[in-house]
């Protein structure tokens, strides 16, 4: 489904600030895999996400989605196959447009956009149906502007918009980090339900170790642009935060230095 082949990315090449962001990373996600990615700040998690989505292009290496080489494909073309939820709840929706208009734009993701009406009667019924699965009552507010929703509601809507067209890959970029704990848990649960329902191949970056352990069937730990630990399905069942930290110390020889890694 998703295959990263010897990806290499450097920033500010040739200047004193040169930094290796991604160092020869290989990663393969099989159909239905849900991989969580943890790592301290600057480990390269976000860069990796951007390389997959097409926001950045790698210096070397290839990205394959569904067996197709998309390494140099433009972001907007690639996003036909990729659903994405950002950390910022404001980033995934258009605030001055209504809920149904936002859903209509997401609905057009994998089809050519035409001069047909965006929100038709039939589509509105369908949107109502999918919104009901969120259990937030948004199905009764179809013509409300998205800017009026709370951060949690907007993030839930973003998640739904990113997923209901069943993309080949779902990228979640710390999508619960900007929410308060109860909202974050709600979005976590919705994520789990949606990924299960559509059997989506998912890559999720998180700072929250507990979330990384609770969600998904595989776990990857990154540090300084490299994948330093891969946990498979059987190992992940017995994984604990203490175990992860000990593992990090064993590999790197130092404590995991992160002010943002939440140990809750």
């Amino acid at each position: 489904m998703l295959q990263l082949n010897q990806i290499h990315k450097r920033f500010n090449e040739g200047s004193p600030d040169e930094k290796i962001a991604i160092d020869r990373i290989n990663l393969t996600l099989k159909a239905g895999d849900f991989v969580t990615v943890i790592g301290s700040n600057g480990a390269g998690k976000s860069t990796l996400m951007n390389i997959i989505s097409g926001g950045l292009f790698p210096d070397a290496g290839e990205v394959y989605i569904d067996g197709k080489n998309v390494t140099n494909m433009m972001e907007y073309k690639r996003s036909r196959m990729i659903g994405r939820v950002f950390q910022d709840p404001m980033a995934g929706t258009a605030p001055s447009m209504t809920i149904e208009e936002n859903l209509a734009m997401a609905f057009s993701r994998n089809k050519p956009r035409t001069l047909r009406r965006g929100v038709t009667h039939k589509r509105r019924e369908y949107f109502r149906e999918v919104l009901e699965t969120l259990h937030l009552g948004l199905e009764n507010r179809l013509s409300a502007k998205v800017g009026l929703l709370s951060g949690g509601e907007r993030q839930a809507l973003s998640l739904l918009m990113a997923t209901f067209t069943e993309p080949s890959i779902l990228l979640l970029d710390e999508h619960t980090a900007a929410l308060d704990p109860s909202r974050a848990e709600l979005i976590s649960n919705i994520t789990k339900a949606i990924v299960d329902r559509y059997k989506l191949t998912t890559l999720m970056v998180t700072h929250n170790m507990q979330q990384a352990i609770d969600l998904g069937n595989r776990l990857v730990m990154m540090d300084k642009g490299q994948i330093i630990l891969e946990v498979n399905e059987e190992q992940k069942e017995q994984l604990t935060i203490e175990g992860l930290l000990a593992e990090f110390k064993r590999i790197r020889g130092t404590q995991m230095a992160s002010d943002r890694a939440i140990l809750s």
């Binding site: 989505s53 433009m74 972001e75 907007y76 073309k77 996003s79 036909r80 990729i82 994405r84 950002f86 404001m90 980033a91 995934g92 929706t93 258009a94 605030p95 001055s96 447009m97 208009e101 209509a104 734009m105 997401a106 057009s108 993701r109 994998n110 956009r113 035409t114 001069l115 047909r116 009406r117 965006g118 929100v119 918009m161 990113a162 002010d259």
Partner: protein, 362 residues
């Protein structure tokens, strides 16, 4: 008194006629400024391009309707070029508009061959319409109505332009409303609202920006072609400050008629354009002001419209704060009287607890 009524009617009639034609330009500015969030100064140039093409073609004997439609396409092209400069050339949006405006000044001069073309005594789209209306007798009928209510001395030359332009402008309004609800239209709106989001839903934001600016300037040039024919001349300076007039119409309209839906907002923009013309014609009736002051008046209208909401908000906020402070003071006063100093200490304790909580979280 009666004389006053009559001149007032003439002023209002003139404002409506001009306002409804300029409304098409204002709809164009609404597309770029509000929908795409792109303050597009190309407008000052493309408006003239429209007028210039119409004038040159009409004086060359071409069909005035054809000339008007061609002006529309020229405007589309000009807008697209601005879009390309911004999206592919990565030039700042204001600057790409200014560059295009300056370039168009020379191009417009080339099109016209001289700075001013008069179309008096030539058949334009409007003179055709006027003749048509005279034949049907609608003018006579409406004028007899006016005479009945005592305005017989101020009969307008023709009703044709007003009536036809109301129809044309509303057709364009309905087209705009429809277009902004289509799949492509939604994507254009999202491009102005949240680029990153719509890109993540497989929309080519560069292409959409170019298309949006093209459509915007098509409307502007169309309006320019019509204004040139209504006034009977095209002038290379007729577009100066057009963007500000467009903005004034959009802002006045939105403030007076609301922006709840697209359909409502486009109607508001048309209303804003007519009201702007009314305000200007009223202002010009003051002896002290002359037509040269019009741009200054427009600029002041826009400045007031842009700053007032913020100033109002700030003074409201100040009042709210003052009220809250007064409430708190009176609360502390009463509690000191009843319970002594303990109450004043309490918030201190609360603060300490909060601090601890934040620490344990991080």
């Amino acid at each position: 008194m009666k004389e006053r009524m009559i001149t007032l009617f003439t002023a209002i009639f003139g404002s409506f006629e001009a306002g409804i034609i300029y409304a098409i330009m204002a709809l164009g500015v609404y597309l770029s400024f509000r929908i795409l969030d792109f303050p597009d100064l190309t407008v000052d140039g493309s408006f003239v391009t429209g007028g210039a093409i119409a004038a040159v073609m009409i004086m060359g004997g071409a069909n005035p309707y054809l000339a008007t439609v061609l002006a529309l396409f020229a405007g589309f092209l000009a807008g697209c070029i601005t879009g390309v400069l911004h999206t592919i050339g990565k030039i700042n949006n204001l600057l790409s508009g200014i560059l295009m405006m300056i370039a168009l000044y020379s191009i417009n001069l080339r099109i016209m061959g001289r700075p001013n073309i008069s179309m008096l005594n030539t058949e334009t789209a409007f003179s055709k319409i006027e003749n048509g209306f005279e034949k049907i007798g609608i003018d006579d009928f409406l004028n007899s109505l006016l005479t009945m209510v005592g305005l017989g001395d101020s009969l307008p030359e023709t009703w044709g332009i007003l009536i036809i332009m109301i129809i044309v402008t509303f057709v364009i309004k309905i087209f705009t409303d429809w277009f902004l609800q289509t799949e492509i239209g939604l994507a254009i709106r999202a491009t102005g609202d949240n680029k990153r989001m719509i890109r993540s839903f497989s929309a080519n934001t560069n292409l959409l920006t170019i298309l949006g600016l093209g459509l915007s300037n098509a409307l502007v040039a169309f309006s320019g072609a019509l204004i040139a024919q209504q006034g009977g001349f095209a002038d290379v300076g007729m577009g100066i400050g057009m963007i500000i007039i467009g903005l004034a119409s959009v802002i006045i309209g939105e403030a007076l008629f609301g922006t709840k839906t697209i359909v409502r907002t486009t109607l508001a923009v048309i209303g804003g354009s007519i009201i702007y013309r009314l305000v200007v014609s009223m202002a010009l009736r003051i002896d002290f002001l002359d037509p040269g002051d019009m741009k200054l008046i427009t600029a002041i209208i826009v400045i007031i419209a842009l700053t007032m909401p913020k100033l109002l908000e700030r003074s409201k906020e100040k009042k709210r704060k003052a009220r809250r402070k007064a409430e708190r003071l009176s609360l502390i006063k009463t509690s000191v009287e009843t319970e002594g100093l303990n109450v004043i200490m309490a918030p201190e304790e609360g603060k300490g607890e909060n601090h601890a909580a934040i620490k344990s979280d991080s």
